[in-house]
Subunit: 471 residues, 3 copies
């Protein structure tokens, strides 16, 4: 039985959320100063070329990330045979809501005079934040109502923004590709929610619709491939110059290494040594996650390949052995296997970032050290930095860290992030299973029909109709 009444209430609540967001945008945001017209003509002439160079230079990167969030994640999740409307549609809905909310929540940490200044940079940040929510959604795919997803997204973004500020601004962890703050956070948050929503003991197995069809596996590849293609843009969007180019090269190589390894491992561990589309759709991307926190470091091309290969191995083995074990032992369902694509590779990335940080020094990194590991700046460098107009903020543990100390902070960042994500996810799960929130019934799992009008004709009828008309 459907309970459409509760759905209507949910959608009405969503409308209220949208109206509230408009009000908040009205009172708390405006365009960044450089986007407002300049009154003084002389200033303008000097001002504009630099603005273009600074802000819009990142626009192609932004659009690449935009494709990942709105096309990549959407189609990757269409792999379920009867959940394609939800995968492609709810991905759009969730992302469209949480990017608005992320602009506000992330903006809280960069307000000027009570106003969040909005520029392209905020849109990039919002898109990246949305990735965390979509990763969590992947863990829960097919097991929640649309409204549960949206509630999760709203809570998650608030916690995400706080954690991101904590790790990047206060702990000063190096994490340009967001492996710690986005991938680990999103994966463990989603798994914690999934734990709270865990099925009763007798139901902890794959449902009848929790699988792919031939066509859905191919449409999922649209997502995989566009994520694969644009991952170098995701990892390199927040850095510049030579650091950006290294981030591109390392991500490209890590993905290539992970891809080859995924195919090898998939064939070696699968039934009859046949390739498994689940591995190809997901583990090929693990190289992008695993290199995320270190892609701008001097890991050198062979280092990038090694990281990718290890990520591919871990990810395939995770899909093959760990996910089924977690489902049957802990009853934590993970529909898309985000633990294998995002969770473990992100932890790997954090560990590598600690290792590389421990070897980092001014000798190897030169002036880049202050950009890559801001808290490793010595006092001399600091005075120089402030001359150059750089803003020295409060940092946990202070400046002038040694490599070993920075390594410890890298590990602290991943540990704290996982802790915050898991606690946040457990609390969110509590909300989602409260009696006032509509839950899915068992026959509604992994099925569009519960929330979508679906075409009544199946493909066989189509052809029949077609031929009838023709004759």
């Amino acid at each position: 039985m459907h309970t459409p009444g509760s759905s209507t209430a949910g959608y009405t609540l969503l409308l209220i959320v949208q109206v509230v967001l408009i009000i908040v945008f009205g009172f708390c945001t405006d365009y960044a100063k450089e986007l407002l017209p300049v009154k003084n003509e002389t200033v303008k002439a000097a001002h504009e070329p630099e603005h273009e160079a600074n802000n819009l230079r990142k626009y192609p990167h932004f659009q690449d990330i935009h494709v990942m969030i709105f096309a990549g994640f959407a189609f990757l999740m269409t792999f379920l045979k009867r959940y394609g409307f939800s995968a492609s549609g709810l991905n759009l809905l969730v992302a469209a809501l949480v990017v608005q909310w992320a602009i506000i929540m992330r903006g809280c940490y960069e307000m000027e005079d009570g106003i969040i200044p909005i520029s392209l940079q905020n849109l990039i940040g919002a898109d990246i934040a949305a990735a965390a929510v979509l990763i969590s959604m992947g863990a829960l795919l097919g097991r929640t109502t649309p409204i549960q997803l949206l509630i999760m997204g709203i809570v998650e973004i608030a916690i995400f923004a706080g954690n991101e500020y904590l790790q990047v601004e206060l702990v000063k962890a190096a994490d340009v590709g967001g492996s710690i703050t986005v991938h680990a956070f999103g994966a463990y948050f989603g798994l914690a929610v999934s734990f709270m929503l865990r099925p009763k003991k007798e139901q902890a197995k794959a449902g009848p619709l929790e699988g792919s069809s031939y066509h859905s596996d191919i449409s999922a590849m649209i997502g995989t491939i566009f994520l694969w293609i644009f991952w170098p843009s995701f990892n390199s969007a927040l850095v510049d110059g030579a650091d950006q180019e290294r981030a591109i090269i390392n991500t490209y190589l890590s993905l290539a290494g992970a891809t080859v390894t995924t195919f090898v491992l998939s064939a070696l561990v699968s039934h009859e040594h046949k390739l498994d589309m689940v591995h190809v759709q997901n583990s090929t991307l693990a190289g992008g996650v695993a290199v995320g926190s270190i892609c701008n470091l001097l890991i050198h091309p062979f280092g990038a390949l090694i990281v990718g290969v290890i990520a591919g191995v871990i990810s395939v083995l995770g899909y093959r052995y760990l996910t089924p074990a977690i489902l049957s032992n802990l009853r934590i369902a993970d529909t898309c296997g985000v633990h294998n694509l995002h969770g473990m590779p992100a932890v790997l990335s954090a560990i590598f970032s600690a290792i590389y940080a421990s070897f980092a020094s001014h000798e190897t990194y030169g002036n880049s050290l202050a950009t890559i590991f801001p808290a490793m700046q010595s006092i001399n460098a600091t005075s120089h930095a402030s001359e150059m107009g750089e803003h020295m903020e409060y940092v946990i543990g202070g400046y002038g860290r040694t490599g070993a100390k920075q390594a410890a902070f890298q590990l602290m960042a991943i540990g704290l992030t996982m802790l915050i994500a898991i606690v946040g996810g457990l609390l969110t799960g509590l909300i989602l299973k409260s009696p006032s929130v509509r839950q899915l019934e068992e026959h509604e799992l992994h099925k569009d029909d519960a929330f979508w009008e679906t075409p009544s004709e199946d493909s066989t009828n189509t052809v029949a109709t077609n031929e009838t008309v023709h004759q």
Copy 2:
């Protein structure tokens, strides 16, 4: 019965059109001067960096628009269950023909010494012009022969180019995102054609193939999502600097607002409160249209969200109530619902542009006023502009407009555009239903098989064959 003879004549005519286009290109076009090799070496050194900065800076924007025209529109139209070959194939054919023709027709208004100078800018303009034709095609989808579409495209582009010149250069309407000149024009032109091709009274209902299948709805989402992603590029391609960045931000927010609203309204008004893929595929995009004419104005983030929300509401209600009413009362079929995605949101955008124009002044917009509303430049500004090398042309109603006057011209632009589009569409429809042009018979509606070789195997046979071979 097929009448292949008439088809052959049509395709032969198409070949002749292509040959004529080549001749016209040969006599009337050449590369723009800055694309020809420089003979004097000293000039070159000074010349080149600036050229690159000016021309190719827009290339990523061009490619984003290119994706919208050739992938976005194509896949959006694949939603019909048995019209996917035509949707993806004829979109390519029509666009490939009309971009050539649009370069010529639009070029007529910027000839230098009888030659149209061709640069990247002309390709951007041609792609945008093609959008108008593809919108009209959406209204008629499945109800015309390929040749009828091409005839329509050729007539439409000629009228489009004239109207665009009229509104942008003579009326000096603000319309950076093309809501007036592209979306309203394309939608009402298509609807007028559809009126002329209206079915007999007893046939004015959805045909047996005028619906989607599960797979076709998902492939349509490819189109929706890529249009959604790159809409900020469409709206911001023709402006620069801070204006461009505002156009990006406003379009992004308007789309987000329209998307959330679309899901809410879809659930609230649909049968059993289930989400309707037609709304998700189309109304989520209405925010991009509705913000088109005002996206570079100081509408502020909350204004962009409000515009998006209103667009979402209007568009979903249009699909739910207006389109069926228009079909049954006026017998105007609108297969893709372009009135709801392009028509009404574009009128909304024009109205908003009038409202914002009426409040515009030099105090709020500073120097940007001359860029955004060129006809609002005062005489002082004019003399200054001419010092800066800007070209002051003849403008209907003259320069020095007040905000209120500019508002009136904005409304005049949308009114004139709709009038020209409707009259043009009616005349075009007359041509398309003339006895010398092959029409579709009723059993050919919304069906690829009339014009395409389609695979004889249905999917069931495929599997059977497959298994037979395997055993």
Copy 3:
């Protein structure tokens, strides 16, 4: 009967190849010098802006090409009804392996102190090299094991890199779009391999699965359309400034001309004058190949259109008449018809390049002559070039070529390339059919099931299951 044992051996070999590649990367590559941190602070300030302008300016172009290689080729090859997992998956595997190998092989010709300096430029080159292998893969699609493809890719890249160096650096052929070095090379190499793997006489006909389904034809259009959209980026990636903009314009127009012509010809020559998806998926792209070697020349817009029209004609006629003839007479299978999309249009491009070269002179091309046809620089120009820091290398036939001489070298380039490709392909085919390499058995042709786990449910069962659950 499957022989999984040999598969495991193949995948283990692949793992060894990946490990060897990592070792080679470790000893023979590093980031290019400008990507290493600068130690001296003063140098950095002066250095960085220029670096960004030089290197990362090409990043949007790179990403467009990246989409072509990893999404375009992948989905174009999904047209077979039961080979979509292989098309999309093996495209990813092959490309991910050969880009690594291509960085090494191409890098051999630009080593500095025994180290290959890696920058974005190498990734672009590697992606372009991968295109050659994917073209060859298209000829063989469905007729090889994954391991055979990988062996072919490794051998092919080694020969490709040598031939590319020969034609571009020693013969100094003009070939910015890679029609000679990529398209002709890849096509004839693949056809030569296909000849070696030719079926026994009685099997030289299309197999039961060597066709498309309605859905697979539409997913192939994803590939076609993204290739079509980004082809201007492929052809213009290696040139700059006005040359780049001309390359974009010419490719755009050539593709448009080829597309219109493809539809016309397809209807005129096909059964019942219906359009054929094979032509639409492939011949529309022939315009991009045919203009490849000449896209930066002064061929003028009408010239670009003519090239496209001729390419469309040749390509459709090739699919309709030549491919079946080659299959039945020479038993050379060409699953994707790469001879019609890449082979013949590339030869056409080379012929056109000879014609245009024969008319080239300093009067028409000015200073661009030295960039476009480097070996046509006269001694005076040479001394000037060396003043400007340009590196004058050894060139077969020497500098100061006349137009006619350059034309001869253009023809020499295509002739040599075809010769090398065919001999290389024949030798590679010998390896692939050696007894130690697992071959496909006849019942495994064009079928994913031989190497992939495929979902057991067909779509009819899905719906049935679905309804059972629902009730």
